[in-house]
Symmetry: C2
Subunit: 305 residues, 2 copies
């Protein structure tokens, strides 16, 4: 089934304890669409870049059957650029540079051929842009997943709450769930957030896995204890892309399928962090993904007699 | 099978955002032996109290079939006393008072009737006292579990490393695993720590569950997302007691049984935090425990087709 992904397509410069990159390709839609492409062969991007964005990267999208008709290229302008430096624990980072460039005036135009999209991933962007996309789709997608971050809670909470009302699944991290709800207990935070509108809430806990709340149930997904996290950039976007890509493949939205989607999303994210940027996501095989998912199965399986 | 538990038997005064207690009964051996008593009917305590320790609490142990022959009562002396205040997030606390009292000169005497103990839990105490217990048992128990904390890594690292060499299972939290190994990645920390001697390592992650490493495998156990953590005091001791109590009941030491033991230990710990002190652990039923364990099963179960 078809999946529309909206988000930044950008340049990042990343420094981790393991090394440093020059400008490499990044952005929420880049990570998410590549991850989704392993499950869904009708991924469509809406985004914007400048004319500094390399054609070779657009070719990479297309090789992954990702439709780039909705990726606007602004001649004479520059792509969004973010630069950050991770601390030794890899759990916190400093933003060194943020140059909005084309993203500052981004108007998400939906190509006519995207109008029938059955699944929609609203990657991390301003809630206003995310909401515009929902409004411009003549038929509401069967499932809308919203990814956001603390920044929007700080600067655009009202717009964010309006957008959250309109989606099926919200994905945020544990600190953001606490910020959004004002509750320290994640179980209470989830009740509070589900009352804001979404049917399901996913709380991403990084190295501690993820929690899914909805249908009166809770699912706790493990994270692989990795020996090395090389670069965490894009892990959350990759998770979201793998998650909704898997659901778009399966086609049926229920709690059990969402659980599996979290495992697939986590598996894709565990690959993502093994190399700088989205490099690892460009060359995965279905066998590698299946093997990694089996690692999640062995990791968390137990049988009480 | 018989289980010997050594650790503090003490008074605590606890302040949490939910309230404040006067001196109530606490101590590692108290929590651990009560937890173990739900699985094993031959739990034996080695510990020391002053004559201020109420007979009614010793009666409670005995009602749980916990043998207190090894619980020394020092006439004219006072029991160990700890007072602490938890911060709002319940994950960190300040120690307000530590009065060692009888624990300062504790010589762990093993009654003759304890000599055949097949399982040994070395609750959090000085590594030297823990080691003395191992030396005084004429037959090495089939399984020795060592619980310890960062304090002993700070002040008695050499003795701790000597003790760790002699045990089968080490239980510490994630910060302690990082401190002991000098590794941030828990996967690497585990490799480092297993090389120190123990066959299995359990890393307790509080609200994020626990990890078991050993036999070249990893198991990730979930934690119940609780709406309210009323008082986390003793949760780690309760976990350790439930863990080894379950193994003492089953009798066979292998990775699969250790996985289940972690689930049972986690279930007991999830009860422990619902009330101040060990109160909740005094009145559980087998049905309540079985129901709680089923919650862990539903929480983490998924089936990849």
């Amino acid at each position: 089934m078809s999946l529309l992904v909206i988000g930044s397509v950008a340049f990042d410069a990343i420094e981790t304890p393991f090394g440093k990159t020059d400008k490499i390709v990044g952005g929420a839609a880049t990570y998410a669409s590549l991850a989704a492409s392993y499950f869904c062969d009708q991924v469509k991007i809406v985004g914007v870049v400048g004319d500094d964005f390399p054609q070779s990267e657009i070719d990479t999208f297309n090789q992954h059957h990702i439709d780039t008709e909705g990726l606007q290229v602004k001649i004479g302008e520059k792509s969004f650029f973010w630069s950050g430096k991770y601390h030794n624990d890899m759990n916190s980072r400093d933003t060194l540079v943020t140059e909005l460039n084309v993203l500052g005036t981004f108007d998400p135009i939906i190509p006519e051929s995207y109008q029938d999209s059955e699944f929609l991933l609203l990657g991390n962007l301003s809630p206003q842009v995310q909401q515009t996309v929902i409004q411009r789709l003549r038929t509401r997608p069967r499932m809308i997943v919203l990814d956001t971050m603390n920044f929007w809670m700080d600067v655009a909470l009202d717009e964010l709450l309006e957008t959250i009302k309109k989606v099926d699944v919200l994905t945020i991290n544990d600190a953001e769930a606490r910020q959004l709800s004002g509750q320290y207990s994640l179980a209470k935070a989830a009740q509070h957030i589900l009352a804001l509108g979404p049917k399901y809430l996913i709380i991403k806990k990084g190295e501690h896995g993820a929690l899914l709340f909805g249908d009166g149930k809770i699912f706790s997904a493990p994270a692989l204890p990795l020996e090395e996290v090389f670069d965490p950039t894009g892990a959350g976007d990759t998770f979201a892309g793998g998650f909704i890509g898997y659901i778009a493949k399966i086609g049926t939205i229920n709690f059990n399928n969402l659980k599996n989607a979290i495992i697939y999303g986590s598996a894709l994210a565990s690959f993502c962090v093994e190399k700088f940027g989205p490099e690892k996501l460009k060359h995965l095989t279905q066998k590698e993904i299946a093997d990694r998912v089996q690692q999640f199965v062995s990791l968390s399986k137990f049988e009480i007699l």
